[in-house]
């Protein structure tokens, strides 16, 4: 019973993750990440 409940949670989490991922792409987050990641991040390298 508990094992089936765990599997159910996993399937639900996976579906929720896919929906969030798709929603994020649709609202332009991937584009925003791309714009940030193609420039050297001065904070990340310890300069800025």
């Amino acid at each position: 019973m508990k094992k089936n409940k765990t599997l159910l949670i996993s399937v639900f989490a996976l579906a929720a993750g896919v929906i969030m991922l798709a929603a994020g792409v649709l609202r332009g987050e991937a584009r925003a990440i791309l714009e940030k990641a193609v420039v050297i991040c001065l904070e990340c390298i310890g300069i800025g």
Binding site: K3, N4, T6, L7, I9, S10, A13, L14, A16, G17, V18, I19, M20, L21, A22, A23, G24, V25, R27, G28, E29, A30, R31, A32, I33, L34, K36, A37, V38, V39, I40, C41, E43, C44, I45, G46, I47, G48
Partner: protein
């Protein structure tokens, strides 16, 4: 057991090479700026590393939370939920380049290898402080006049960015060499402590500081990739707990949030009671 351990090392090396495959960047002191950078990689891999082809999820999460356009990152949280649900902390063991570096350092012979550090219990909670304070709260709310928040974890803590991006770029770029000051020194000290500590202690960054490990650890208890103990076969010999370098109580909590899924315990089980399963309710 040795074959599985070697296979894990091969996967780690292959994934580290694949996610840092932009060799031109290392030669010219530049970073890759193609469309692949819109895609997150599952492990800690700084997007300012000259070889990086994808984006670090922790860096991306802070970039979105600190931006003016968004106050929540569905894209990164969705990506982490999918990856975490499928693999849990197996990502730490198989797909994280910084995990590979720590594993290689741990192979260096040292007179006394430690499973636990003094204050282990408190230290384990540090990674949650990193996740909630440095990755989520500070970038979201400590914003400047422009309305943009800094990536606090990357800026003040992350040794991965220092090793993969800071050191090579400062070595390859004259302008960065002149600009490197107190912050760079501070980050170099953190990196040095983690690297030195990785020789006697297994995976100190993953265990005590990594916000990504904290997040994936949450998924360990219900991820598709998981461990199961066959209670009928198990003789409670304790072989699994003896080989665990991280000090996980394997029999009590085979899917503990601290377990990085290296598989040593599974290989050590003499009766085959401890098993890895994927997408099974067992």
């Amino acid at each position: 057991m040795k074959i599985k351990s070697k296979l894990r090392l091969i996967i780690q090396c292959a994934f580290a090479a694949l996610s840092n495959g932009y060799l031109k960047g290392f030669l010219k002191g530049r970073i890759y700026s193609g469309p692949l950078k819109a895609v997150c990689v599952p492990g800690m891999n700084c997007y300012s590393c000259p070889g990086a082809l994808g984006s670090c999820p922790i860096g991306s999460l802070q970039a979105i939370l600190g931006s003016r356009a968004f106050n929540l990152s569905l894209y990164v949280l969705g990506f982490l939920t999918v990856t975490g649900t499928l693999l849990g902390r197996a990502v730490c063991s198989f797909l994280c380049p910084f995990g590979l570096i720590q594993d290689l350092l741990y192979k260096i012979p040292f007179p006394k290898k430690s499973v636990r550090l003094p204050g282990e219990k408190a230290l384990k909670y540090l990674k949650y402080v990193m996740l909630f304070l440095f990755v989520i709260i500070l970038p979201s709310f400590a914003v400047g006049e422009t309305g943009v928040g800094a990536p606090f974890f990357c800026k003040y803590v992350c040794p991965v960015g220092t090793l993969e991006a800071g050191v090579p770029l400062v070595l390859l770029n004259k302008a960065f060499r002149y600009a490197a000051g107190a912050l760079f020194t501070h980050k170099l000290v953190i990196l040095a402590v983690i690297l030195i500590l990785s020789v006697p202690v297994r995976r100190p960054f993953c265990r005590y500081l990594c916000p990504l490990g904290a997040l994936y650890g949450f998924f360990n208890r219900f991820s598709f990739y998981r461990y199961t103990v066959d209670r009928e076969k198990c003789t409670s010999c304790g072989a699994c707990e003896k080989v665990c370098d991280i000090g996980v109580s394997v029999l009590k909590k085979p899917n503990s949030a601290d377990c990085i899924r290296c598989g040593k315990c599974v290989g050590a089980c003499p009766g085959g009671a401890l098993k890895t399963v994927f997408f099974r309710s067992g």
